[in-house]
Amino acid sequence: MANLSEHTSHDMGMHTEQLEGRTQQVFFSATEEENLVQPFTYDVDFDRATEFDAQEMATGEINAKIKDLMKDGYGTITVRNPGAKHSVAVGILNRLNLVLDGSLGYFGCGLVDGPNIRITGRVGWSCAENMMAGTVVVEKNAGSTFGAAIRGGDLVSKGSVGARTGIDQKGGTIIVGGDTGAFSGFMMQRGRMVVLGNAGKNLGDSMYDGTIYIGGKIADLGVDAVVEEMTPLDCDWLTRKLRLFDLEAPNGVENMTKIVSGKQLWNYDNLEPSEKKLIL
């Protein structure tokens, strides 16, 4: 086992520092405008474009190649023949235009924070899981758990997707051009899900917050998912957002069904431990 005391963090006192009360440190200026990206990101130029063929490359080699190209300043990268390999284009924390010309396997584009990614084919399970920011557009169908635990950004499949779409969604927008399977929006906490086709059983089951818009039929609603009236702001937002990705609600956005949390499951609080103790 490595000697942790030799780690840089120990030298910096991060394991011995005692925080008392609220920190009053001023970290930034409200008028500071020169920084538009985090200091550790690569400086890339969208006008510098390149491409490579991934046919004979392993996943690790593909991801390393993308990173090397970003280091060299390329802001537009096309990957030919990704070959449905798993975990391609994960962990990209940079502004970047990335085209994946083909299909991806499981966990494609996971943990990304910033890039605009277009996938010309299909994707397997858990595409863009834990996505933080950026856009990921899949031109065809996607597998189950599409956008699992997504935190932010726009994730789009222009086809249909499998079950448990947006499970544990914590932010961002998931858009499905076709249908979605059972348990979509399960344990959703915030963010928006837009499905232009039909939704399977138990839609929004145990959702804590967030909004689901459905353009077609709903097989049934899950526990604590309720229908709420659409507002003009909802309609404006939907119209604008769908137009960005060349999509359209088949019956008009004003006729979509809006699903939110009924908030009957909001029974968490600091009384719970003592209640449990009494019962025990």
Binding site: T8, V37, T135, G153, D269, N270, L271
Partner: protein, 130 residues
């Protein structure tokens, strides 16, 4: 969200309203409407510059950022530090949540992109990759 008609409710009171909240001594749920979608007519010039630079067609992840209220102060939640960043007291708050949200988004971007953000130090201390 409780008292949605009074925008200053959580600035002028402790925000503990219902019988259940009084019993447990804390607010149940968020202190702002997490489902409020942005009004794009109110995007600030700085935010427009930011989204243009990132190559996004709209506010993207910032659509989920709202101005919240913490211990009587306007604040914005930073997911990267898992904590609240209080809004400077010399900033006058507009009388509507949409414009307040735009201020919160602008402040959060400036905070996160600052070389003084705690994540920069944490990355230097714990980062395993370039």
């Amino acid at each position: 969200m409780a008292n949605a008609n009074d925008i200053d409710h959580y600035l002028t009171s402790d925000g503990i309203d219902s019988d259940r909240e009084k019993m447990i001594g804390q607010t149940i749920g968020y202190r702002y409407d997490v489902n409020l979608v942005p009004d794009y007519t109110r995007v600030t010039p700085y935010l427009q510059k930011y989204i243009d630079y990132m190559g996004w067609p709209d506010l993207n992840w910032l659509e989920d950022v709202h101005m919240g209220y913490e211990e009587g102060r306007a604040a914005v939640f930073d997911r990267n530090i898992n904590g609240w960043v209080t809004v400077p007291e010399d900033i006058d708050l507009p009388d509507n949540q949409q414009e307040r949200d735009m201020i919160a988004r602008e402040l959060l971007v400036k905070f996160q992109m600052s070389p003084n953000h705690p994540l920069v130090e944490l990355r230097r201390a714990y980062g395993k990759f370039d």
